[in-house]
Subunit: 82 residues, 2 copies
Amino acid sequence: MPMDYVLAIITGLSASNAKEITLKARGQAITTAVDAAEITRNRFLKDLKVSKIAIGTEEMPAREGENRSRMVSTIEIVLTKE
Amino acid sequence: MPMDYVLAIITGLSASNAKEITLKARGQAITTAVDAAEITRNRFLKDLKVSKIAIGTEEMPAREGENRSRMVSTIEIVLTKE
């Protein structure tokens, strides 16, 4: 599953000629975002640096059948070309 | 499960009178580490700041029945008292 994101990072950076890309994830997908950042940097784009990592909390609305909202952790990882 | 870590953070900081504490996690536990940091800061120790977040990759030795090592993502979160 991280490989889908790795591909999105690589194509996103090359198509737009952007200098940076931000990965955002919530809950269990946090690990996937970290995996995607690490695999991209270690195997594909070795000049990519992690320029910022921030964590936070978001309130998610109650799902059907639940009676209250849930707090979910988030991560934001910014990757920048040298 | 994050609550075990939250308790460890709170007791660790108060017992040792330390000014900072570092959470380290690998693989799926990355999300738990982020949850623990967020819950501690939002609910219990509101003067705690995230002073550093770093991600990395570690090689884990092959487990029994596997024939090669695996790469696993890591996170390190440093929480500092103001």
